[in-house]
Symmetry: C2
Subunit: 352 residues, 2 copies
């Protein structure tokens, strides 16, 4: 997988969890990488994430919608990995307009600028399994109905549709990956709203109780970030994929209870480990629960040859080891700042 040597690559959201892992791999593959990241509080950007390649990448601090701040690298880009966005489901329910701005408004502007400046580039967009909502069948393939159950899912869905409609019109070459629960080094562990895996990992690092709501029999297919990076690289180097959507999940579905048990087991240090606490499902979470989810790997295997390699236990061990070494750069960060006043989008006319 080294089709990236000498390629000019733009990574939006490149200081975040997945974006930084991708940027590091790209640099190691010989790509010329420019990162665009707005460092919006709460979205997981962390300069330490790119420490291994800090001298080899350009970092532009800009919202992905403020294209005038990075027109030059955009014009030169051969490939764009578009990972900017907010991923928190629960925060989207608290401040939906913030989520709308970060996931939809800015993506619309970014794509319209791509149409002007880099119509020939390949654009890879990081969407989410969340757009499917509660699965109607398993495994979930790419034709599954889109039926989001939170605002984040609606806004990621709209941004996905922007990519796809511009690709179908022949304006851009966009491909979309719908990611399952991703974990691994460089997750924003200090942000409790970024998903249950991050919470479990935090708890395991501190040997604090790991909570399972309800019976914990729901299935998930956690996917290690290295496998996600591999899938992005494959999708970005394959020709003739315009407007194609791929689901990417982990190698096996496992229950939330098994995930919790693995985290508890791997938490063990000096004879002490995280206990597991079973609690009734709180109503506000139950209403966002999707039951079981796991991805159908058929399309991504067949068309990209992309097969997840990292077993959950191995991946989690690797992740815990990363944070035991570098945790100060994550857990040492200030706890999530007080949420600002709610967002409101104003409507203004501007000169074109």
């Amino acid at each position: 997988m080294n089709n990236y040597h000498g390629k000019r690559v733009l990574v939006t959201g490149g200081l975040g969890f997945i974006g930084s892992n991708l940027a590091i791999r790209l640099v190691r593959n010989g790509a010329k990488v420019t990162i665009v990241d707005s460092r919006v509080p709460g979205c997981g950007a962390n300069l330490f994430n790119i420490a291994p390649v800090a001298s080899d990448v350009d970092v532009i601090e800009a919202c992905v919608g403020d294209v005038e701040k990075f027109t030059a690298p955009l014009k030169e880009a051969d490939v764009v990995f578009n990972l900017a966005g907010e991923i928190s489901h629960s925060r989207s329910m608290e401040d939906p307009e913030r989520d709308l701005y970060l996931n939809t408004v800015t993506q619309l502007r970014f794509l319209l600028a791509c149409r002007v400046h880099c119509a020939g580039a390949r654009i890879l967009y990081a969407s989410t399994r969340q757009v499917y909502g509660k699965p109607e069948y398993l495994p979930v393939d790419e034709n599954h109905r889109v039926q989001p159950i939170d605002f984040n899912g609606v806004h990621k869905c709209a941004a996905t549709q922007y990519h796809l409609l511009l690709a179908r019109r022949g304006d851009l070459d966009c491909r979309v990956l719908r990611l399952s629960n991703v974990y691994g080094p460089r997750m924003a562990l200090h942000l409790p709203q970024q998903g249950f895996l991050g919470v479990y990992i935090c708890r395991a690092l501190n040997r604090e109780p790991i909570v399972v709501y309800g019976a914990g029999t729901q299935l998930r297919d956690p996917v290690h970030v290295d496998d996600v990076v591999g899938a992005f690289l494959s999708a970005g180097s394959a020709p003739d994929l315009k407007s194609r959507v791929f689901n990417i999940g982990g190698p096996h579905p496992i229950t939330l209870r098994e995930i919790a048990a693995t985290a508890a087991r791997l938490s063990a240090r000096a004879g002490e480990q995280s206990p597991i606490h079973e609690l009734p499902f709180p109503d506000h979470l139950l209403r966002m629960d999707i039951g079981s989810y796991f991805s159908d790997p058929a399309r991504i295997e067949r068309e990209l040859g992309s097969i997840p390699q990292v077993e959950f236990e191995d991946g989690l061990r690797d992740t815990l080891s990363y944070y035991r070494k570098h945790g100060g750069h994550y857990l040492g960060l200030a706890k999530q700042p007080e949420p600002p006043a709610a967002t409101r989008l104003a409507y203004q006319a501007i000169a074109r």
Copy 2:
């Protein structure tokens, strides 16, 4: 169909084409009607539309997102017909942020306010067949994949998802109608971007040439506004429909060529009638073309007993007759004003 006697009903977009026809019928059925309409230029609001019931309805000039301007009637509403929005596909391609604001941002705010002020009301949302994009099979049922081909479709889809997710969460009682090509009295004929039926009707009124692009063999199922109003009234009076989606189209699919021929035939006055001009499909329209579309009426017939009654030829005759009498209030309006500078959505924190 008179479950509306004495009911307090809010109609958003009630000065527009469908909203005004609905408001008139509601008043005649004894409902207490409040109209909320922002009169945004280009969206079809026309005070003349409600002339027959002008003294019987309250009209509040407000954007549907500025809920503080109509909190009192919102709190009292038994039923909300939520028809506010922009419908122009082509205009959405010219100024996507304007469309995003008018169809998505304002709807999000409106629904969040409904959750606070009228959680017990029934909410009926006017969505569009446009969200399906290019049909993968015919007739198109409600389970057809959502795959919009223009920004208007993406934004109406997002607003639809807001309604459905809030209904599935149990926060609101929302039902959604996806409308096919609607025609009839009170269309905004002075706005050329509101769809081909309006353009044909204008041409027929003036006995000007009616243009058919390409072979004209694509099917559509134009539905008369009286049938759409009937479907809304049925959907608003049925119990236990939370989060249900219904397609509504006309009684029969007919080709664009037949539609044009009917319009030309009915245009005849004093021995003169519109000629039909056949032109090659312009590229910018071809890229937005969806081929044939017609709705599957099975669900709406079975669950609401709603069956379209108006044959296209009868409906078009009725429509032309309305405009021959009242055309000065439509065609006499200024032509579409110059489009303002492009819209830009700003991001501001507000105190809650």
